[in-house]
Amino acid sequence: MLSLVIFLPLVAAVVLAVARGLPDAVARWAWVGVALVEVLLVGVLWARYETPAAGTLAFDEQVEWIPGLGASYHLGLDGLSLPLMALTAVVFAACAVYALRESTRPRSQAALFCFLQTTCLGLFAAADLIVFFLFFDLSIVGMYFAIAGWGHGNAQKSALQFFLYTFLGSLGLLLGFIGLYVASGTFDMVALAADPPLVGTGVTGGLVLAAVLVGLAVKTPTVPFHTWLPPAHTDAPAVGSAVLAGVLLKMGTYGFVRIAMPMLPDAWRSFAWVVIAVGVVSVVWGALVALAQTDLKRMVAYTSVNHMGYVVVAVGAAGVVGGSAEEARALAVTGAVTQMVSHGLITGALFLLAGVLHRRTGTYEMSRFGGLAGRAPRYAALFAVAAFASLGLPGFSGFVAEVQVFAGSIAAVPWTAVALVGILLTAALFLRALQRLLTGERGPASAAFADVRGSELVAVAPLLVLATLIGVLPRPLLEVVEPASRAVVALVAR
């Protein structure tokens, strides 16, 4: 079942890539069809999901692959991965609908994004480090082509920079994986989490963790490894940005909770303060730099650094075991996972909305707009909802996530309260963006601005509806996440 969910888009990708004579319209709708089937399939998974017993995975699948290396084709889900699988399906479906108006090589684009969806789903379901790494690297290759092939501006250069940076990070990750294997004799993630190697080895454990952390930090990205992100987003196509920010960034933070924390608990506890510090700096720095942007898409990109920073702070705080209650640390981890989902939905929507601007006017420069509220009320409403959700207003998913992150983190490590500054700054910058775009005099680019309609509305609205639903009724999500975060916290405390 799980393999089917993962590889169905790949099959679609191959068919789309091979069928050269396929009319563009058919290709676009085929992608929408596949993406919707995926949403349905993941929905079925969610409905049939029951929290697995400690140390096991739901929908477990294992096939012998490279026994000589202790690696197997092993998949499974738990409360950390299932929400991200669902997020992936939803974001890709939104992108498929949004791309219905794509005119540049729609068939190739559909094939590429179906391929990307397989890599994302596969990564979140992987229960073997080699399988994880395989999908991790393939996602980089796929995104490279998405930016280089459909981007604008300086797309080639940005794509190359993205590839170089994240590939470098992935090699760090690989080194760390090899270190884990040499110490344990297996690449199986379940086995490694159950019986972590390198406990009490001091330097070796620290080095392996450092290698893994660098790999994940580049992907997340955190300061100081974030410099690839703004150019990549600015020059990527709207759907590329939505997938990159909505799903691909989560691979980094997911790696923290899935790999670094349970498999290197000893080293994680020793270096938790480094993680927290990096997180706090990311939060504040990301927000400050975002505040200084005049380009809307660049601004949203920097807020991603800020939002991912909260996740890093939370997982770092979960590693500070002495003097804090286990509940607080579990709360922080739950907040981190919720934040991943929330950020995926909201930023996906924001990037698609930024894409609407570019479609109409060819620019993201905020000073060229203004007064859009009168000219395009639906666009203004969507953008306002997305902006308020992103700055963490109560009633939206971002609030649920950030409250948990801070409640948990501050209980464990009081000085993480410094990161609260980030919330203030994001609030300020989003309000200013709203003001510049929607109110005031009509700018030169607003004059002939047509309101969102049809496919654009259908693509963006569900993302925001989901973000609101999670904000109002978070229980269904939290019930899935909470047992898994308690398990992670228990594993780190060993």
Binding site: W65, I66, P67, G68, L69, R105, I130, F133, L134, D137, L138, V141, F145, A148, G149, Q156, L160, F163, L164, F167, L168, L171, G172, L174, L175, I178, G179, Y181, V182
Partner: protein
């Protein structure tokens, strides 16, 4: 009687080698009696010999015969893999070279030389005796000089000259090393007895001899310090010869190095020398490749760096069980991936510089796909087989107590991104294609597709 009996079964045990040699002789002699437009018959004979050899190798691999000919030759798993890889690689080389070689006035000679050099490579890999090693070295090298020079251009002549001079020089170094080892080991030439025979010998002399043999073998492997000929030959020779000489000799030579290091006494740390050569090969190969704009020269330097990666498991021989499977798997993966890259070059005659590949993705999507798979493969990205090869060699190095080599490998991989991407990226942009050759060579095209597919399949069906 017993002697002749065992001699007979020994010959059966080396049937794959015999088939290659017989094929070479038939091609050579038969070729002189075949009219030029009928030379495809010779190609058929060559292909038949290679297929038969591969099949025989498959049977041999299923039940390895062990040491034969009084222990001078070892028919074990490693030899089995070398036989299979060499035979299939040479088949792929012939496939990608059909259009280039067909109708050439020396078509049958080319096939004979390919088969002879293949035989040399296989015997080099199976040799368990210093003297057999020397013979195999010569058998494998001499046809190479002719293969490089066959193109009859100025660049080919220069490449052949360089190959010849370096081969002669390092051949002498190899023989000198063998002489020293024979001298201090009391005339013991077989690897089985060599470890014990050298245990009491002066460590300095053993080290000098071992290093000399090692350096000689580096000529065949195309690694530092015997690498100077590789870029020139890859650039100057025909694509067929270039594909062959950057792939097949390495297979035999690296397994030979493995056996040699295994046979050295523990008192002499040959592994450290190998580690240094590995680092030098990958670093130099990558740095030199970074500045290249000619595709074949770039591939030539890239193979130098690949030898560096391949030497990693050799540097931890005897210190981890992973060393041998890692080396053998990487060799197989490398052979098919490298040949895929050359097959793409062969399919698009006239495209010599990186710039000529701009927009290939639009004009020939299938070839661009094969190029992508092969270059990402050489880089070591999943899902290509070299990824697993790199993972295995890095793991073997770390497991064998040389974790720093794994780090060097990773750093070098990052450096190699620079040139693999410089080729790949313009080829896959949707820019207007540079249309240098509207006609694609069909056979080479098939070879590229086959290579690209198998480069991924090897990873999926690996069953070791």
């Amino acid at each position: 009687m017993a002697g002749s009996m065992s001699m007979g079964s020994d010959v059966v045990a080396v049937l794959p080698e015999v088939l290659l040699l017989v094929g070479a002789l038939v091609a050579l002699v038969g070729g002189s009696f075949t009219p030029r437009e009928q030379q495809w018959r010779v190609r058929l004979v060559t292909v038949a010999a290679l297929v038969a050899s591969a099949v025989a190798a498959g049977f041999g691999l299923a039940s390895p015969a062990g040491p034969v000919f009084s222990g001078t030759y070892d028919v074990d798993t490693a030899t089995g893999v070398v036989r299979l890889v060499v035979a299939s690689s040479t088949l792929l080389v012939i496939g990608l070279g059909v259009e280039e070689v067909a109708g050439h006035r020396q078509e049958s000679e080319t096939y004979a030389l390919l088969l002879l050099s293949s035989t040399g490579a296989v015997v080099l890999g199976g040799a368990a005796d210093l003297l057999v090693l020397v013979v195999a070295f010569l058998l494998g090298s001499i046809p190479l000089y002719a293969l490089v020079g066959q193109a009859r251009t100025g660049a080919a002549a220069e490449g052949a000259m360089k190959t010849y001079l370096l081969g002669a020089l390092l051949g002498i170094v190899l023989m000198a090393g063998v002489t020293v080892l024979l001298g201090v080991g009391g005339g013991e030439a077989g690897y089985a007895g060599l470890t014990a025979a050298l245990a009491g010998a002066p460590a300095g002399a053993v080290a000098a001899g071992a290093v000399a043999v090692l350096v000689g073998l580096m000529f065949k492997a195309g690694g530092v310090p015997g690498h100077f000929w590789v870029p020139d030959a890859a650039q100057g020779a025909s694509v067929t010869a270039a594909a062959f000489l950057t792939t097949v000799p390495k297979v035999g030579a690296l397994v030979a190095v493995f056996r040699l290091v295994e046979a050295m006494p523990a008192a002499v740390d040959v592994q450290l020398v190998v580690a240094v050569l590995a680092v030098a090969s990958m670093t130099l190969g990558n740095l030199a490749a970074l500045g290249q704009t000619a595709v074949r020269r770039l591939l030539g330097w890239s193979t130098v760096s690949q030898v560096g990666y391949l030497l990693l498991p050799v540097a931890v021989v005897g210190r981890t069980d992973l060393a041998e499977p890692a080396l053998l798997f990487y060799l197989a993966a490398y052979a098919v991936t490298n040949l895929t890259a050359f097959a793409v070059v062969a399919a698009l005659p006239g495209r010599e510089s990186l710039e000529d590949y701009r927009g290939l993705g639009r004009a020939h999507p299938c070839l661009a796909g094969a190029l992508l798979v092969s270059l990402l493969g050489l880089l070591g990205t999943p899902p290509t087989s070299v990824f697993l090869g790199k993972l295995l060699v890095a793991t073997a190095a770390w497991d064998g107590g040389a974790g720093w080599l794994a780090v060097v490998l990773v750093v070098n991989t990052v450096a190699s991104l620079g040139y693999y991407l410089r080729w790949c990226a313009p080829a896959l942009t949707f820019a207007t294609p540079v249309d240098r050759s509207p006609t694609v060579r069909r056979w080479a095209f098939q070879a590229a597709t086959l290579g690209g597919v198998s480069s991924i399949l090897i990873l999926i069906v690996v069953s070791r």
